[in-house]
């Protein structure tokens, strides 16, 4: 439970202002039961699947049964979290605020003496909260059960074989390019690839040349000249060169030279424990 670094980091980062404050008091210590990865406060909100999840956590944290929620106490703790998040200017989903409002309402209704005339509304306001928490918890558990089930592709693999030559099966005609590109479009839009990669100007010939070079090198080291054919003209040489650089950058190839002015060789990189380049 070492939450100190997160806070001191803020202190280091400059002005007094950046020290989080809760109810006007500078926050020097995070709430005791607040588990936050030391240097990643932002992760906090992602740790919880919403206000119900956070509430469940607070309740479990004190070994309480949902049915025994001490609403006032839980509400206070919940508010502390919310306040903290706001002070740290973390983006807070509206649902958390909504829950805060609801908790406050429940709390006030419990604390306020019930007017004798209000016969119509005798239901304990906590009941609705308890029910929602219970309901949510059931599905939280069910989700864990699903995750634990063996799953094809992760824990289960299909056995598959095909004939060497399927004589009777005529292959279907290739799909139209249009179909292919529309499929790509979907995949890319889904992955928001455009946002993350700047591949706009990369000519595709570089990509296919990368494949060809790799294939050649897979058979053994190659001399640099082998991979760059002057007959292809200036553009061809540039493409080959860019492809080589890209492969080296991605850790797929290594270029080496025995001695100065010796011919350049290109080979597969020596296997390493772990590639420094995971990114494509």
């Amino acid at each position: 439970m070492n939450a100190e670094p997160a806070v001191s980091e803020h202190r280091d980062s400059g002005a007094e202002k950046s020290i989080p404050k809760v109810r006007g008091q500078p926050l020097v210590k995070l709430p005791d039961d607040l588990y936050i990865p030391p240097d990643a406060l932002e992760v906090f909100l992602e740790t919880f699947e919403g206000p119900l999840d956070l509430l469940l956590y607070l309740i479990r944290k004190q070994n309480l049964d949902i049915l025994d929620i001490p609403v006032s106490k839980i509400t206070e703790q919940y508010m502390e979290y919310i306040q903290l998040m706001r002070e740290l200017k973390l983006e807070l989903a509206a649902e958390y605020l909504l829950m805060a409002a609801w908790l406050a309402e429940i709390k006030s209704r419990i604390l306020l003496p019930r007017p004798p005339a209000a016969e119509e509304e005798p239901v304990d306001p906590r009941m609705a909260l308890v029910r929602r928490l219970q309901e949510y918890e059931r599905f939280k558990t069910a989700a864990e059960t699903l995750e634990a089930l063996p799953r094809v592709g992760r824990d289960l693999f299909l056995a598959q074989a095909r004939p060497d030559v399927a004589r009777s099966a005529t292959p279907p005609p290739p799909p139209a390019l249009r179909e292919l590109l529309l499929a790509l479009r979907e995949a890319l839009l889904r992955a928001e690839l455009f946002a993350r990669h700047t591949v706009a100007v990369e000519p595709l010939s570089v990509r296919s040349r990368m494949s060809r070079i790799l294939e050649r090198v897979e058979r053994g080291p190659a001399r640099f000249e082998e991979l760059v054919d002057p007959a292809e003209g200036r553009a061809g040489v540039v493409v080959a060169f860019v492809a080589l650089l890209e492969l080296v950058k991605n850790g797929l190839l290594e270029v080496f030279q025995e001695t100065a002015f010796a011919p350049l060789h290109v080979d597969r990189p020596r296997a390493r424990e772990c590639s420094p380049m995971e990114e494509t």
Partner: protein, 228 residues
């Protein structure tokens, strides 16, 4: 060469081999119907006899790395789980991991189908991101099964046979039931503690009545519907 001119006597083991060949070559499970269409007539087998052949084929796999398994959309041959770790080595890349948000959403669709996005959000207490639903739809685990006749006609979601296949299940009944809610007595006792005795039993009963409807996941979805 040709299957047809082999006398019926010798075909016994052969039928199972044909079934094996079909199952191994297919991309996914083959239903009894499909298998019957493919080989039933040729070998003069009824559906019931075909089932027996499949059982015999399954026995043949007793000592093998594979097993013949029936899942929602039919039969398939799969690697036995005890060899999965070895097979996993073939691909260094880890299979996609799903977020808790996605799994909770899936659980709600599984156990409460048909269900709208809004209803999922009500239970989870947070909004369901479009990406989660899209992933579930893309993965083929979930699909729209209709629209709720309320203003806005929100889509209703249900699970697919593909979901069952991928989770190695034949039907939704094989899933464990949802965890129970506390029963009436407990709830009343709790209410008494909570409400300083001010809570009428009626409210408690209502609460319980709503929760205690039988809640095995319901297979509301005919398998054919996935073929579009």
């Amino acid at each position: 060469m040709s299957e047809t001119d082999i006398p019926p006597r010798e075909t016994a083991g052969r039928i199972e081999n044909v079934l094996e060949a079909l199952l191994l070559a297919a991309d996914g499970p083959l239903s009894l119907d499909q298998l019957h269409k493919l080989v039933g007539e040729e070998f003069g087998l009824s559906r019931r006899e075909l089932r027996e052949r499949l059982a015999r084929l399954a026995e043949r796999y007793a000592d093998d790395a594979c097993e013949l398994k029936e899942v929602a959309s039919g039969w398939r041959i799969q690697i036995r789980p005890e060899y999965s770790a070895w097979v996993g080595r073939l691909w260094q890349d880890k299979p996609p991991r799903y977020s808790r948000a996605l799994l909770e959403t899936l659980a709600l669709i599984v156990y409460r189908q048909p269900i709208t996005r809004g209803e999922i959000e009500d239970v989870r207490g947070v909004s369901v991101s479009t990406n989660i639903l899209r992933t579930l739809l893309d993965r083929g685990w979930v699909r729209e099964v209709g629209h709720k006749e309320v203003p806005g006609r929100p889509a209703l979601y249900g699970t697919t046979p593909q979901f069952l296949d991928d989770f190695n299940l034949k039907s939704l009944d094989q899933l464990p039931p949802l965890p129970e809610v506390k029963d009436l007595d407990q709830l009343e006792a709790a209410l008494a503690r909570l409400g300083q005795g001010a809570v009428p039993a009626q409210a408690a009963q209502e609460a319980v009545a709503q929760e205690s409807a039988p809640e095995a996941p319901s297979a509301a979805v005919p398998p054919e519907a996935t073929l579009h």
